[in-house]
């Protein structure tokens, strides 16, 4: 017979549950994850190289995992900092998921790692939907990408705990309008901090590390409006069981 069965399940409930487990597991090991999201070519790797060097200078045990569709170029660059680095090739998949990340960390993540920087696949659409068990989610945009980037990719910027502008050394040449960019960020994510950086000139280098360490130490992290009070998605783990009990039949 035909039945309509109420499921009432978040589509990404499995990823959310994996992320929740990974966050708890890593917290037990004293590690916090920083999830870095941006479009390709925004300068994630260049900034991260500098932040990893800074962490090493300050004797903060960090590690980095870089996800790309192909090539190990980013890991080779990041490894120059001397910290443990792993390259993950997604074979065409446009984002990382929590279960995949957990699998890649298994047997690799060194004990005593305080911060694990995850350089997500360069993409501002898909990675935004997947919680990786991170403590800090950072969305980056370079000055060349246009001030309206936060409006074009509202979930990526709207769910960020921190927004980082990169390549400010060429801001003048490309006539980057900082006020307009900040206003657009504020529209989709009121109250989020925006920091300005130039990996080439050293501007703002260390700020990301500071924010990540503060978050790892339990300092309150910005709570985006988009991440608040959505009952069926995100960090909730309600898994209604007993579908039969809720089934109603159609004659």
């Amino acid at each position: 017979m035909c039945r309509v069965v109420d499921l009432r399940r978040a589509v990404l409930a499995k990823n959310d549950a994996s992320a929740h487990d990974l966050r708890a597991h890593l917290a037990g090991r004293g590690t916090a994850v920083v999830n870095l999201l941006s479009s390709p070519g925004s300068g994630k790797t260049a900034l991260l190289e500098r932040e990893l060097l800074r962490a090493r200078e300050r004797s903060v045990p960090v590690a980095a995992l870089s996800a790309d569709l192909a090539t190990e170029n980013d890991a080779a660059r990041l490894a120059r900092s001397g910290v443990p680095v792993k390259q993950v090739l997604t074979d065409g998949l446009c984002h990382l998921e929590a279960g995949m990340l957990a699998g890649h960390l298994d047997g690799w993540l060194p004990d005593g790692t305080r911060l694990l920087f995850v350089e997500n696949v360069g993409n501002l659409v898909c990675p935004a939907s997947y919680d990786l068990g991170e403590t800090l989610r950072v969305t980056l945009a370079s000055v060349t990408e246009g001030e309206d980037k936060p409006l074009k990719y509202p979930t990526a910027f709207g769910l960020a705990h921190l927004v980082v502008v990169t390549k400010t050394d060429i801001a003048q040449a490309v006539e980057f309008d900082e006020d307009a960019f900040r206003a657009n960020v504020e529209q989709v994510n009121p109250g989020v901090e925006v920091i300005l950086t130039s990996a080439r000139r050293g501007r703002g280098v260390g700020a990301l590390l500071d924010r990540a360490l503060a978050a790892a130490d339990g300092a309150p992290v910005h709570e985006p409006v988009m991440a608040r009070s959505h009952p069926h998605h995100g960090h909730t783990h309600a898994q209604p069981e007993a579908a039969d009990a809720m089934a109603h039949t159609h004659p």
Binding site: V4, V5, V11, C94, S129, Q187, H232, H233, T249, P251
Partner: protein, 132 residues
């Protein structure tokens, strides 16, 4: 395009629920709520859903998506508004930032219409003497 991953997650969950129910022979339709701010394109999802269903108990099932508009409420001034796209999450009346998102992030399976081998439920009324 992560709609393929989303479609897989939908099909996995429905197939799992059908497996638990035990005697489901076919799934006719799956109803999904997709919020305006969920970051999912319904047309792309429908395309992927059809591909992912092939060879499963969901083969041929229809995906019914219900769009949920984004709505927000200003905590200080109590104004409510449709956030639009791109969303405006600061209050259009008082410019406040103490915003609560009421709806728009949904990405949820609501219900599933399936066929099983179960018998109809027993009549709710007491049988009349002739039926005994």
């Amino acid at each position: 395009m992560h709609e393929m991953s989303v479609a897989l997650a939908v099909v996995d969950q429905v197939a799992e629920a059908a497996g638990r129910a035990g005697d489901v022979t076919a799934v006719r339709s799956v109803r999904l709520q997709v919020g305006e701010l969920a970051g999912v394109v319904p047309d792309a999802l429908a395309f992927c859903f059809e591909l992912v269903c092939a060879g499963t108990v969901l083969e041929g099932a229809e995906l019914v998506t219900e769009a949920v508009p984004g709505r927000a409420r200003c905590t200080p001034c109590a104004h409510e508004w449709a956030v639009g796209m791109p969303p405006r999450l600061t209050c259009p009346v008082c410019d406040g930032t103490g915003t609560e998102l009421l709806a728009g992030r949904e990405l949820q399976i609501v219900d599933v219409h399936w066929v099983d081998g179960g018998s109809p439920p027993a009549p709710a009324r007491e049988p009349i003497p002739e039926e005994r």
